[in-house]
């Protein structure tokens, strides 16, 4: 026979147990199943019982356990999706993230975001974490070069949709900016403002995106009968600093460009820094790919080809939810048009 001594109690605040359906059932004098019906708003419950149950629910502050529910449920959905991207802290990813959240909200779905930092191992880790948690789907801005490993996830019921960058070694839905067209427009804009010496400065990302933008650059030159000069195309720039150095090198070359097409955010920023340091920011034209905060506060204001990040994100999640709800059919690639925003830096004419 054991007696209850005070020593058996805990010190802190009473660790209140969370109410379960069972508790609600007991309190309202019905079966667990009926509680389940009320909670899930199934109509086959009499008004009286529903009332009793709902009162008990309120009294106990019952909150159904979604994990337990999805464990048993036929469709097994967890109402969670994963969003794996570059870095939640950078403006592009942050904007994408917000767009995704907004759509997910309509589906009562939580979004957990993970930063890959362009590290393929990190991508594998996070995809694994996502499947361990049994997310309903994965939205991926990939860091890796080969996505064949995702076949397995897709087959076992976790749809994957790509955003911003295409899948490789895998057939999957993708939503991307019209990179080539946007770059072409940017370069044509410079040419039409009198430039013939235009440099291309690109980042280090996997060939896909920067490659398409380079295509657009070349298409524009070809279209106006200009030829690409050796050394005018610089790639592999990873941050503002390396971009600034590359610009300096170009300006010191025998035949400095009079205009720059910078194919990525951070490259644009680095290029501007370099021009400012040399006092050339009013002399050398710049058009950047992808808008960035403050672009219209700099002097001169920065002309960019803006991606519609919000639209990319929204379309991509919608694809994902379509797949989650069982849509079948071949993978789709959607392209979101860019738009040129002339603010000043891209309208500078050659000396």
């Amino acid at each position: 026979m054991s007696t209850n001594h005070d020593g058996g109690r805990r010190a802190g605040p009473a660790p209140t147990r969370r109410a379960t359906m069972r508790d609600v059932a007991v309190l309202s004098g019905v079966s667990v199943k009926t509680v389940s019906r009320v909670v899930n708003e199934v109509s086959t419950v009499s008004d009286e019982l529903r009332d009793r149950v709902m009162r008990a629910v309120a009294q106990l502050d019952f909150q159904p356990n979604l994990a337990a529910s999805s464990l048993r449920r036929t469709d097994g959905s967890t109402r969670q999706i994963a969003l794996l991207l570059e870095d939640v802290a950078n403006p592009f990813s942050a904007a994408l993230s917000r767009a995704v959240e907004n759509v997910a909200r309509e589906h009562d779905t939580l979004v957990f975001a993970g930063s890959l930092d362009e590290d393929p191992r990190r991508e594998l880790e996070l995809v694994r974490a996502a499947t361990l948690h049994r997310v309903d789907g994965i939205l991926l801005v990939p860091a890796s070069a080969d996505h064949g490993y995702l076949h397995r996830e897709i087959r076992t019921g976790t749809p994957v949709v790509f955003a911003d960058r295409p899948p490789r070694g895998l057939a999957a839905d993708a939503v991307m900016a019209a990179n080539a067209e946007g770059a072409r427009e940017a370069v044509l804009h410079l040419i039409d403002h009198g430039h013939t010496e235009i440099a291309f400065l690109g980042d280090a990302r996997t060939i896909s995106t920067v490659g398409e933008r380079l295509e657009g650059y070349r298409a524009a030159l070809a279209e106006r009968g200009l030829t690409e000069r050796p050394g005018r195309v610089v790639r592999g720039l990873s941050d503002p600093h390396s971009a600034a150095r590359a610009v300096s090198a170009l300006l010191d070359s025998g035949r400095p460009p009079t205009a720059l097409f910078t194919a990525q955010n951070l490259v644009t920023i680095g290029a501007i820094q370099a021009l400012q340091e040399r006092g050339l920011h009013e002399r050398v034209a710049v058009v950047g790919f992808d808008d960035f905060p403050m672009a219209d506060l700099l002097m001169p204001r920065v002309t960019v080809v803006a991606q519609d990040v919000t639209r990319i994100g929204a379309l991509a999640v919608r694809r994902l939810f379509a797949r989650i709800s069982g849509e079948d059919g071949p993978p789709r690639e959607e392209r979101v048009p860019t738009s040129l925003i002339a603010r000043g830096s891209g309208e500078i004419r050659p000396a």
Copy 2:
């Protein structure tokens, strides 16, 4: 007797069922419990059996179901936390988010972020969603004014830690910037550069943060024997546009300020826009609270009192994980020092 006709097959790719522990157990000829032991790296399994099990795990690509696991587990942790903040797309929130993610990663925990848009209802909704999903804890940058409703969540085992803004009507951990001290330093900086006519421009957030910054402004004035002029303190500015208008109004007043202390990001940006439009950006000094992207690319470069967002985020999650792992004791408030970054705009002297 039933025969298998082809018509019984599905059209799409075989909807492969995900392997369970049971499957692994059958394939490796051991009990489910032994598989569990191997998967959870409990040492009491013979090398031979472990080997067999691990082979089966690899062969079937078994991935344990974390939700099922945490359902049965004693501590019931789900390895998920919620981060509820202003808007994942704004730089402050985005930086916070990243800091949180980095620490959470060390704890094998996923972070799902939710944007409140300064809407208290949204806060309630997301807190509810978080508890339905049984997150292990909630990190909150609150939008609401009274957080008493969180008592219940905390008591039922979901710790809540506040970041950037303090809890009200509730005793809970909080990690915040040293707002008053930072503001004081900013204003002293302006005074020490010869200014006596300094305006305060603040945002519309709950009294807490902007209030503390205003305190600091007043402390600095008092410390140098200056008196606050009527109309010099403007609050309730919600975006760059309203901030710009407020600055214009001040400049048009009988005794225009020679320096501005802008107590928030977007207010700083609006103020700069207004000054640029009037060509006064080299004449009127500005010190902003909270650093922002591109602040050192504008002309003049913008002097700010920077918050250490990364540190705020990291400390806050660490508090949260401490509570999650059962730390008991009174709520703590931690203050993270700010640092003044002189870049130019704050060093302009009065005419």
